[in-house]
């Protein structure tokens, strides 16, 4: 069965979401992954937006986290204060899974979504944190979407927007960040996890047709590939639910 790397990525992320997870999602593929989980493998997961809507019905794919489509049939329509409080409050926050993306990532899962080059007069300016820094500070675990490119998997970030494991083992605890840190990185070639001891990224899986070496060639830093296994391709059921239920207009796919 034919499928695109984007479909594989979306489904790989959706498989990481479980029933009873409260899923924080942003715009684009992260929203689609949350919808896919809800429609495929985790129907009891709860989708949640930084703008203040929770458990929106999502009959139609939103194109922004402020899209009126997230306001339809939600459990409550509040605002930013309530949404971020839900994550900062560890009674609720420890049940939240964040789905994030960025322009650059380092070996400890720290993210840059602000600038390439100097902060003043940068070579490239991006959107900035939005809620990403807050989410990654607060929530139990986060899943990060990245494109597998050398210029994106960097030894040193140009700007640290969003905290991963900072400088490594013990650093989040020392900084007193309440949340658990990054859990998975999902790219167009494979999936990375983070080692419990070293807090460093390692290769967990690669998609059919991709080799671990090819992934290494598309990163500026080295990671352990000894634990990597081939990832199951999307099943016919996963693909049809993704295409027909989640994004029939192919707005993201």
């Amino acid at each position: 069965m034919d499928y695109t790397p984007k479909e594989m990525m979306t489904i790989a992320a959706a498989r990481e979401i479980r029933n009873d997870d409260i899923v924080f999602c942003g715009t684009g593929i992260s929203m689609l992954a949350a919808m896919a989980a809800k429609n495929i493998n985790a129907p009891q997961s709860v989708i949640f937006f930084e703008t203040g809507a929770i458990d929106s019905k999502l009959e139609d794919l939103p194109l922004a986290v402020a899209d009126p489509r997230i306001m339809y049939q939600s459990s409550s329509n509040a605002g930013l204060l309530e949404a971020f409080a839900t994550m900062q409050n560890q009674i609720t926050g420890r049940h939240v899974v964040g789905i994030l993306g960025a322009a650059q990532i380092d070996i400890f899962g720290n993210l840059n979504s602000t600038v390439i080059g100097d902060y003043e007069g940068p070579d490239v300016r991006f959107s900035g944190s939005g809620g990403a820094c807050d989410v990654a500070s607060f929530v139990a675990r986060s899943i990060i979407f990245m494109t597998q490119e050398k210029r994106k998997f960097k030894k040193k970030l140009d700007y640290l927007t969003t905290p991963g494991y900072l400088e490594g083992p013990g650093a989040r605890e020392k900084a007193d960040l309440p949340g658990g840190g990054p859990d998975k990185v999902i790219t167009n070639m494979g999936m990375m996890g983070f080692d419990d001891q070293t807090r460093q990224m390692y290769l967990k899986g690669y998609y059919p047709g991709i080799t671990p070496d090819k992934i290494l060639q598309n990163m500026e830093f080295e990671i352990d590939i000894t634990r990597a296994q081939e990832i199951h391709p999307p099943s016919a059921n996963e693909l049809s639910l993704l295409r027909e239920k989640c994004d029939p207009q192919r707005l993201i796919l």
Binding site: A64, E120, A175
Partner: protein, 325 residues
């Protein structure tokens, strides 16, 4: 704030009265929803300059204010317009070309800053951002801060928990309060005194409105009696905060207004295309904003058919069958 009186006026007069060169401004809405666009276009028409703008994620409105040269300083969490511009295009250009001074925060930090302003306290604490460059790297230098009495001497301050380990917390980031000279929001309903009713998500509009010295409210429906008081639970902002109330149907266009209309994908896509080129963007400002002296004229130039396409259906609150490709 203004306590008594009928506050209905024209958007021309409201902007002339409250939005001055160099003023500290914030606008409501979020990315492509409920931005006070009619007011944004009027600010551009009146050629207001050197504005200090506070934004969390007020996408389209911020990009047009920056693009038209209104903004000098920008404190912001996110410059993006969803799928239409993952990074707002004129914002990106202005920062890369050093045409504006920018300072980065997170969305929660900005929201708490407005809340602190609305509460009358100098700062509030959060557990967001320790160890990041949002705390470490400042957009405004210590010297610039000392010279400008309108901004605090520090960006963000990390402290030890003064209550020991109460709340299982050792460290906190303190975020400084914001009290804009003027906040502008667009709501579904407002009455002649300025009581406001928002349908759908409020974003940070309520905190921004209550933190401001002056509040301009534009609305889809202007209520000329006290009937909003029949269902007070549905009102978010009481009249005491408001200074000006302006009736502007489609006042958030081309951004969305829940239960009234959707965002206009045709406009936003075309905007993104024109924004990439300086000459074409200049023509956009001339043709779309300056050649249409009022928002009514701008809407007429868009045409009734397009407005019907984005009209919200009663069940969903958005345009169910809108082609967004």
């Amino acid at each position: 704030m203004k306590i008594n009186g009928n506050k209905i006026m024209s958007i021309e007069d409201a902007v002339k009265t409250y939005v001055k060169d160099g003023c500290h401004l914030s606008i409501g809405g979020f990315t492509i929803n409920r931005n006070p666009m009619a007011a944004v276009y009027e600010i551009i028409r009146q050629k207001i300059r050197d504005v200090h703008l506070y934004a969390h994620s007020n996408g389209q409105g911020v990009d047009e204010l920056v693009g038209a040269g209104v903004v000098k300083n920008l404190e912001i969490a996110y410059g993006g317009s969803g799928k239409f511009a993952s990074t707002c295009i004129r914002f990106r250009k202005a920062v890369e070309e050093k045409k504006i001074n920018v300072e980065d925060y997170s969305n929660y930090q900005m929201t708490l800053r407005f809340l602190a302003g609305s509460m009358g306290v100098p700062f509030l604490p959060t557990r967001s951002g320790m160890g990041t460059d949002i705390v470490n790297i400042w957009g405004f230098s210590p010297e610039a801060r000392k010279q400008n009495t309108r901004i605090p001497n520090d960006k963000l301050i990390e402290i030890e928990n003064p209550f020991g380990e109460w709340g299982d917390t050792k460290k906190l980031i303190l975020v400084p309060a914001i009290n804009p000279d003027v906040t502008i929001i667009h709501v579904q309903q407002a009455d002649y005194r300025g009581n406001c009713r928002i349908d759908g998500l409020t974003f940070a509009d309520v905190e921004q409105a209550k933190a401001a010295k002056n509040l301009i409210v534009t609305c889809e429906e202007l209520i000329d009696d006290d009937s909003l008081k029949n269902q007070p639970d549905r009102n978010q902002i009481p009249f005491i905060h408001a200074d000006a109330v302006i009736h502007i149907p489609y006042g958030a266009f081309p951004t969305a207004c829940f239960r009234c209309y959707d965002y206009d994908p045709v406009f936003l896509k075309e905007y993104a295309r024109l924004a990439k080129d300086d000459t074409q963007y200049h023509s956009y400002i001339e043709d779309t904003i300056f050649k249409n002296p009022t928002h009514r004229d701008l809407l007429d130039s868009i045409g009734r058919k397009r407005l019907e396409m984005i009209s919200a259906d009663e069940n969903h609150g958005y345009a169910k069958n809108l082609d967004r490709r």
